[in-house]
Amino acid sequence: MATLIVAGLAVAACTGPATSDTITLYTSVTQDTVDAVLGALAEVHPELHVNVFRAPTGQLDARIAAEQRSGGVQADVLWATDPLSTESYAAQGLLRPLSSDALSVVPAQYRSDNFVGTRLLNLVLVAHAGLAPQPAAWHDLTDAAYRDDVALPDPAFAGSAFAALGYFASAPGYGMDFYRQLKANGAVQLQAVGDVITNVANGTQSVGISLDKSVRDALDKGSPITLIWPQPGAIAVYSPAAIFRSSRNPAAAATFVDFLVSVAAQTAIAGTGWQPVRSDVPWDKSGPALDVDWAQVFGQQQQLLDQYRVIFGQ
């Protein structure tokens, strides 16, 4: 038994500092972006230490639910992919209202009382290189020309796919019928956004719904794909940050969230290929995008997922 205790102490000693300036971050943001932002943070707030748990949105949801069952959420800050998942947490009373003046630099449509946008993810189309004809609009995905040839990410796995579901379900001219038509046209639901790009690059399917930055990254490496800004526009999803009500270190958590919308962090975010939420940070990589009123979808999240499951199974 002494072994166990000694081993336990040894391990506890290795699990990192737990000083008052240590916070835990739950995030679904891509690793390179988290790393870039933490790198910038180290220069401005060297005293702040951030433990990161990075996982897809669906896995974060499960983790937070499990922690609620046994003694409360263990993290201080949430940095999510989409406003719908984050709003669900706000509705459950898990988030602490944000009060910092620093957040007013973010345009009002990209924040709420409980969370603030940090970057914009543009949902776009990705097509295999040389595909003809190329789809030009979202509605083209339901066209017989792309029968059995469309790849979609899973809304229960990826926050961006969940946002797409939220947008289409409530947008005039689409609705859940859009997904029924996609299914009828043989569209295949994969898991992550990365799976969509992989399958389209490999030619397993020739078109898919994806994210601008992920497509650009694959293009830069030389994947045989094309980035398409669909008509009437890409779906711009803002990626919110929030502070958990159960945070044991709300001051440090607030420092971190304030930092996320600072010019330094926004420049780091832009440097990894995501559109910054601040318009005063240089950015020239986006095409036409739709302004989405996410607030009108709030409250219907579970219902949307249930309806989606009826169509795409699982």
């Binding site: 499990a66 796995f157 030619g203």
Partner: protein
């Protein structure tokens, strides 16, 4: 020398590592209540059926291939026999999730067979692929058990006698050795089944993205990917069900493989020094069989590993893995600070698990002697049969509130699962030594402690070291429990590979998978000669 303190320590360790978590799990199941559990069970029909189907199919593949290879390498003479044996054992080194990823790169969409020949393995991401990879994973163990059975239980003397009396090699084998081997093959079948139904790596990699769930991946999804309370109850139900099924089958395996089950002819003497005449040396049929065997190894082991390396070297997804597209950039990208941190976690966990498991095993050997040791070994063996998914869920419930997200909680699960790996070989080694040498030392006037210190320990030392390395290797392999227990600072290498794979970047996933496999291979080098013996010792008394 009193054993009482050791016995107390052992009881405490087993209690904390195994009994407390399992009691917590059962308690939770009772809390949830029969009605809700039944509801949970109702919605788990799919995963249960899928597990049975892939488990049975995988077992079939493993038993047929493993036994055939054992007979081939032990009883048939052909060139390259030794190398074939070594290739079989490569399967023990490659972790299951890496095999799954490697098969995808070899036979999946845009895999090398697709690119080179336009051929894909249909259903690779589904029951067929999972069964094949599970079979390939369990085959080496069946191979080892049956090969060992051929060497000891099949009584070469009898076979030789039959040959001398005019029976053909095949007739002698069929009528003499095969019946004697039946219990071994039966036991190996049960073990292959336990391994297949409790496997997580291959079903996770090949099944989850395709929406094909087995019990272990369903437990993972329900505990790690589902937010609704019903999912938790379902996971508990599945965890209990899986543990019961695995324990029953594992107990059956233990019974079939027990030394007492060996049917003896009464011919005195152990394994003969004179080799059994091998079948059909130099004949065409032999050449054909050998070629078939090599083709199988090529397809199941070599091609997937080559495909994995090629994918890891490819610059971007969607490009053919030809030299002009090669780069080392993927290795650079995946070896970021997180991978290094996970690498550190895996090494720390592996070292502590190895040290802890060996100490616990020694404690067990000191505490329990004689006939009781057999009982202890059986109990320890059963605890190894408890599926990783169940153990992790149990440990999470019991120690989560206190140790959630720490390396300690992962270590607890590793120790509970792996100390049998150290116990069995050490127990066997000690039994072989203690009687003669210990008695001689005592007869020469040494007290028990001196005898242990000066005679037993030095002779046991290689076994201690080898057991530690074996546990270290299994800890580096481990994915099932780590994936359920890790937190912000405690991800292991295997977890990082799984997460990368789930995000859908095949080139980076392959790069990290190659590095992990190289690491495991490096660690297992010291075991090279004994790997087979130790792996099969897991299951034999």
């Amino acid at each position: 020398m009193s054993n009482r303190p050791a016995l107390g320590g052992l009881a405490l360790a087993v209690g904390l590592l195994v009994l407390v978590p399992l009691a917590a799990l059962v308690g939770t199941a009772l809390d949830i209540g029969a009605a809700d559990l039944a509801a949970g069970l109702g919605s788990t029909g799919g995963p249960v059926l899928n597990t049975v189907v892939t488990g049975v199919a995988g077992t079939l593949v493993a038993v047929v291939a493993g036994s055939a290879f054992a007979v081939l390498t032990e009883r048939v003479d052909f060139a390259g026999r030794r190398l074939l044996r070594v290739m079989m054992l490569v399967g023990l080194i490659v972790p299951g999730y890496v095999s799954g990823i490697a098969w995808l790169n070899a036979y999946g969409p845009a895999g090398i067979s697709d690119r080179a020949l336009g051929v894909q393995l249909p259903g690779l991401q589904g029951p067929l692929g999972i069964s094949l990879v599970l079979g390939a994973e369990a085959a080496p163990l069946v191979f080892l058990l049956v090969a060992a059975g051929l060497a000891t239980r099949a009584e070469p003397d009898l076979e030789r006698a039959a040959r001398a009396s005019g029976a053909s090699a095949w007739t002698a084998f069929r009528t003499i050795s095969l019946p004697l081997l039946a219990p071994v093959i039966g036991g190996a079948t049960a073990i292959a089944f336990v391994l297949s139904v409790t496997a997580f790596g291959a079903p996770a990699v090949l099944g989850i993205p395709a929406g094909f769930g087995t019990m272990t991946t369903r437990i993972y999804r329900d505990l790690s990917f589902a937010a609704d309370p019903l999912a938790f109850g379902r996971a508990i139900t599945l965890a209990v069900l899986l543990a019961v099924a695995a324990s029953v089958v594992a107990a059956l395996a233990g019974w079939l493989l027990a030394p007492a089950r060996a049917r003896r002819s009464g011919v005195p003497g152990g394994p003969s020094a004179v080799a059994v005449p091998r079948m059909g040396s130099g004949r065409l049929a032999t050449a054909v069989v050998a070629a078939l065997a090599w083709a199988l190894v090529l397809l199941a082991v070599i091609v997937p590993l080559v495909a994995l390396v090629l994918t890891a070297l490819t610059r971007a997804v969607g490009l053919p893995p030809t030299p002009d597209n090669w780069t080392l950039a993927n290795f650079n990208t995946v070896l970021d600070t997180h991978a290094w941190a996970a690498f550190g976690n895996s090494l720390v966990l592996g070292a502590l698990a190895a040290g802890g498991a060996v100490l616990l095993a020694v404690l067990g050997l000191v505490a329990v002697r004689g006939r009781a040791r057999g009982v202890a070994a059986a109990l320890v063996g059963l605890s190894f049969a408890i599926p990783g998914s169940t153990l992790a869920a149990a440990v999470l419930i019991a120690y989560g509130p206190l140790l959630r997200d720490t390396l300690v909680i992962i270590l607890v699960a590793y120790l509970a699962k792996f100390w049998v790996l150290a116990f069995r070989p050490l127990s066997a080694a000690l039994e072989a030594l203690a009687a003669d040498f210990g008695r001689a030392a005592r007869a020469s006037g040494a007290d028990a402690l001196t005898a242990a210190r000066t005679i037993i320990l030095p002779l046991l030392w290689p076994s201690l070291a080898a057991s530690a390395v074996l546990v270290f290797m299994f800890a580096l392999h481990e994915l099932t429990m780590s994936s359920l227990l890790y937190g912000p600072t405690s991800a292991t290498l295997a977890v990082v590979v799984l997460n990368l794979q789930q995000l859908g970047d095949p080139t980076q996933t392959a790069a990290l998978a190659v590095l992990v496999t190289l690491l495991v291979a490096l660690v297992s080098l010291p075991l090279a000669g004994r790997l087979g013996a130790f792996a099969s010792a897991r299951w034999r008394g």
